[in-house]
């Protein structure tokens, strides 16, 4: 029977698992990005090459119609989170506490002000309430993860979530390139630059990329500030769900559970802290830390390649100017506010 099937469909016996093809694409682009960053002028760092190659591959795969068939290994979040866990090896636990404490203060101030500002601007632009909630969460906290949490809290449509995800990445990529160079032009210290980047750019992958373009120190500060912000996702999702059922749906019997805060907490932060503690206790030699730091760089390169590969150009064709306008205004406000907060707390 199997032999008959193989003869009837001769291609079957030669089919290579698509996941391996997909992974080979991501790995190949990452290797190329690494090579280009070493041979090109200093100004072009590996995050830029990786994202650019990912975007070009995205367009090519889309044009040839195979993108949906080879996308299984395009996993920005997974590669990024693994890279961030490994980043713990280059951050002393004392630094996490010191930067993290200021990062939490900046995050609480930033998240509250930017969320409320975006809410009222979006209302003025006539944006639907559920889309408004998803946009506010993504601008104020952490792009994609926050948008997902908010979408769940207010039961937003799947199209809203896909659309906001595309907007997040579309705004994050130019900022990833512009903000570090702007920070250098303004003569900001690495700590202030990192805090500004971490408090502003919406997606964690672009935060890490922008920080890396500026300097190693800025990348660490930006990452810790961003992770402090990410930790608030659960709190905001809980409050948003509470507001929704009490004031919008007016159903006080459907209160969200407090457990929601833990459920939404980004667990990979625990891995980041654990690795930092391991290194702070002196359990690894400096050459072992160097090996982990290089592994981190590889995983981050894979993430930056995927950020370009996963950009959904198709979503923009469905866009109206209003959500884009709101996002632009909110991003400008966020950028200025984050600079002020970073200057006061880290300057």
């Amino acid at each position: 029977m199997a032999q008959v099937a193989a003869v009837a469909r001769p291609g079957l016996q030669f089919r290579i698992p698509r996941f391996i093809v997909s992974l080979a694409i991501v790995l190949g682009l990452a290797l190329l990005a690494n090579w280009l960053s070493r041979v090109s002028p200093r100004a072009l760092e590996y995050p830029l090459w990786a994202a650019a190659l990912g975007l070009m591959a995205n367009l090519t795969l889309g044009a040839t119609g195979v993108r949906n068939r080879v996308g299984q290994a395009f996993r920005t979040e997974l590669f990024l989170k693994t890279g961030l866990v490994l980043m713990g090896a280059s951050v002393n636990f004392g630094e996490i506490l010191s930067i993290g404490a200021r990062g939490v203060v900046q995050a609480v101030l930033g998240v509250s002000c930017v969320f409320l500002f975006t809410w009222y601007v979006a209302r003025a632009f006539g944006i639907d309430e559920k889309l408004r909630a998803v946009m506010c969460a993504s601008v104020a906290i952490c792009g994609v993860s926050a948008a997902i949490a908010a979408a769940g809290a207010v039961l937003a449509k799947k199209e809203h979530l896909a659309y906001v995800t595309a907007l997040v990445i579309a705004f994050a990529l130019p900022l990833m390139v512009l903000q570090p160079y702007l920070a250098m032009a303004l003569g900001l210290s690495a700590d202030v630059a990192g805090a500004w980047i971490g408090g502003n750019i919406d997606t964690t992958a672009a935060v890490v990329g922008a920080g890396a373009i500026h300097s190693e120190r800025a990348m660490k500060v930006a990452s810790i500030v961003k992770l402090s912000q990410n930790a608030l996702i659960g709190v905001v999702a809980f409050l948003l769900a509470l507001y929704w059922v009490v004031f919008v749906e007016r159903n006080p019997h459907e209160r969200p559970r407090v457990r929601e805060i833990w459920d939404r907490f980004p667990k990979f932060i625990l891995g980041f802290v654990a690795v930092s503690i391991i290194v702070t206790l002196g359990l690894l030699t400096s050459s072992q830390v160097k090996a982990l730091t290089n592994l981190r760089s590889w995983f981050l390169t894979l993430a930056f390649v995927c950020i370009g590969l996963e950009l959904a150009f198709g979503e923009f064709r469905k866009a109206s100017w209003r959500p884009i306008g709101v996002y632009l205004v909110a991003t400008v406000f966020n950028t200025v506010f984050a600079l002020g907060a970073a200057w006061i707390l880290f300057g």
Partner: protein, 31 residues
Amino acid sequence: MHRLTEDWLAVIVGLALVLLVYSGAISRVPW
């Protein structure tokens, strides 16, 4: 992949790599 599983997978892979480096199974990573 569910985001909760993705987070824990990142932690597991990260800690596994730390263990491999600590044990000497991975001693050098070019960059």
